[in-house]
């Protein structure tokens, strides 16, 4: 997309918290929400004499990610110390990977476009600082409090190439990446809870030119929506600045969700001199062929393949397949319902899932595992409609009840007396009764013009439905009326 002759060049850095049981270099639990400083030990507190030891699961997760997205895994990778003074790390350095990351040169396909991923490296998360006084803002605070539970939690930083051109594409990239990481079981990837954080490098250049403009890093976007908004704002800001004859300053800017703008941060000269050097306390990682093969074997079906399969096998739209696969557990739920199906089509199952079930999940904020409706319950509902026992409209009400409380569709149908009368003999008896009782209308139907015929036929159909308290099978009733009035 271009705006007034410019195009944006965007690269994304995603920090993903890995879903291990323990931290990156020590056996403290990697667990969200514990009381402050209860998950700390000499290693993650950086006490003298302690030594970090790398978590095997982290290497396995990285290798699984590599196998999924075609990264090259160098023979060896090493850890480095990133030195800085800030109380979120008790050691005054963060152990990260700098010159030789564990994964290089991957890519992911997003809506038919390959987005390159330059590298993915491992590093430890930092502690959490809370600024006291001054409204909680660091510049005005009186002092700060630090909780080191998160210090040392394993992160994988995934750095895309500057292959992204629009905010929309950036969102789609992150969404696809999340889906892959979730399918691999290596992270919860919840942006809102901080288990995935995404920073964006944004620059603009005149359309048709090759050289990159000055890039600005934007941070602090905590949802896909704010990522998109922040990038759009930044693109417009830079274009406006260039149009006004200003120069873009290379800097880090913070996204402010409330005012919908990015703000430059006060940074000191030379503050980014991290003096990286190889971490002497950790030896290189050299994944064996065996480890690589085991990781490759642990890669499940990825979201793109699963969507394609749902489109092919169930006949659902690409958009519906995306909803099924993106929403936690929804595709599995639908697949279990399809397996339990005796009557009806897989596509009907999918339609209920992306329609009424999704609407219920959105409305209540519940996840699919806690619904009182089991997959075979949905299969039963689809079966009741397919067999003509209830109409689609009735099925909506039945489903609503099954989503509210633990019951079965067949039970709701029985309790409410909703069964359609589909017994041809019983329906024929009612039709005959109605025709006999409305001989005038029948006579007017036979002698009338098309308009009169239509009117009288509608009246007779209504009388039949009334006699059946609305539960006659409409197709069968129509057929019987046609036959008798012919």
């Amino acid at each position: 997309m271009t705006t007034s002759g410019y195009e944006a060049v965007i690269g994304l850095e995603a920090h993903v918290e890995l879903a291990t049981a323990t931290k990156l270099f020590c056996g403290c639990p990697n667990e969200f929400g514990a009381a402050p400083n209860t998950h700390v030990c000499p290693v993650c507190l950086g006490l003298p004499g302690s030594l970090p030891v790398l978590n095997r699961a982290v290497v396995e997760y990285a290798l699984r990610f590599a196998a999924a997205l075609g990264f090259r895994v160098p023979d060896e990778s090493i850890f480095a110390r990133k030195n800085y003074f800030y109380p979120d790390m008790p050691k005054d350095y963060q152990i990260s990977q700098y010159e030789e990351p564990i994964l290089v040169d991957g890519s992911i396909e997003v809506d038919g476009v390959h987005i390159g991923i330059e590298r993915a490296h491992l590093e430890e998360d930092t502690g959490k600082t809370t600024h006291m006084g001054g409204g909680g803002r660091i510049h005005e605070a009186d002092y700060s409090l630090v909780d080191y539970n998160r210090a040392g939690v394993p992160l994988m930083e995934i750095v895309s190439r500057p292959d992204i051109r629009t905010a929309e594409q950036a969102r789609a990239y992150v969404s696809e990446l999340r889906g892959v990481l979730k399918a691999l079981g290596v992270s919860d990837v919840k942006m809102e809870e901080g288990s995935m954080r995404v920073d964006a490098n944004v620059s603009v250049r005149p359309v048709g030119t090759e050289a990159f403009g000055t890039k600005v890093e934007i941070k602090n976007m905590n949802s896909l929506r704010s990522l998109g908004r922040a990038i759009d704002f930044e693109i417009e800001r830079q274009i406006a600045a260039l149009e006004a004859g200003e120069r873009i300053v290379q800097e880090t800017r913070h996204w402010d969700e409330a005012d919908g703008r990015t703000h430059g941060m006060r940074t000191k000269e030379g503050s980014s001199d991290y003096r990286y050097f190889p971490e002497p306390d950790l030896v290189p990682v050299a994944p064996s062929g065996e480890m690589r093969a085991a990781a490759a074997a642990a890669v499940p079906e990825l979201p793109a393949a699963r969507r394609a399969r749902l489109v092919a096998d169930w006949g659902v739209s690409e958009a519906d397949a995306r909803v099924l696969v993106d929403v936690d557990g929804l595709a599995d739920f639908a697949a279990a319902a399809v397996d339990a199906l005796r009557d009806g089509a897989a596509r009907d199952v999918a339609n209920w899932c992306t329609g009424d079930v999704m609407a219920h999940l959105n409305e209540t904020g519940l996840s699919i595992e806690v619904l009182p409706l089991a997959p075979d319950g949905l299969a039963e509902l689809v079966g009741l409609v397919a067999a003509g026992t209830i109409s689609r409209n009735q099925a909506k009400d039945v489903l609503a009840e099954c989503l509210r409380a633990p019951t079965r569709p067949a039970q709701v149908v029985a309790e409410r007396g909703l069964e359609q009368v589909s017994d041809t003999g019983a329906l024929a008896a009612v039709v005959d009764e109605v025709l006999a009782a409305n001989a005038d209308a029948v006579a007017e139907y036979r002698s009338g013009d098309d308009k009169a015929k239509k009117k009288k036929r509608g009246f007779l159909m209504g009388e039949c439905m009334k006699a059946l308290r609305g539960q006659g099978n409409p197709q069968l009733l129509n057929a019987l009326l046609d036959e008798r009035l012919a």
Binding site: T20, A21, T22, C26, G27, C28, P29, A35, P36, N37, T38, H39, V40, C41, P42, L45, V53, L54, N55, R56, A57, V58, V59, E76, I78, N83, F85, Y86, P87, E100, T129, T130, H131, I138, H139, E140, A141, D142, Y143, S144, L145, V146, D147, Y148, G270, D273, R275, P278, P280, L282, V283, P284, V285, A286, P287, S288
Partner: protein
């Protein structure tokens, strides 16, 4: 940083000291400039060797893949941990103001 004749200047030493948050006296800067120059001279001697085909050494130990299983081990007692801190508050480490208000 270097201009060939002087491998390291006083300004370099002061810069590195600032990055490391070290307060050095003039005499210390003087002495460290000479000491670090000797270290850099030694590095220059190594760099002058023909090292084609010698892979860079990331670590002196001939070890690879020192890994531990992903199994939880007990953390420390919080009271004990915070007792070692100069100041604690509300279960957390209390640290001085991080940035100047200026």
């Amino acid at each position: 940083m270097t201009d060939g004749s002087a491998p390291i200047t006083r300004a370099d030493v002061e810069h590195v000291a600032r990055l490391a948050r070290l307060a050095l006296t003039d005499a210390e800067v003087e002495r460290l400039t000479a000491d670090l120059a000797a270290v850099l001279d030694h590095a220059a001697d190594v760099a002058a060797l023909d090292l084609d085909g010698v892979p860079p050494t990331a670590h002196p130990l001939p070890l690879r893949n020192v890994l531990r299983d992903d199994a939880v081990r007990p953390s420390l007692d919080r009271d004990e941990v915070l007792a070692a801190a100069p100041v604690a508050e509300d279960g957390r480490f209390r640290v001085p103001r991080i940035l100047d208000p200026s």
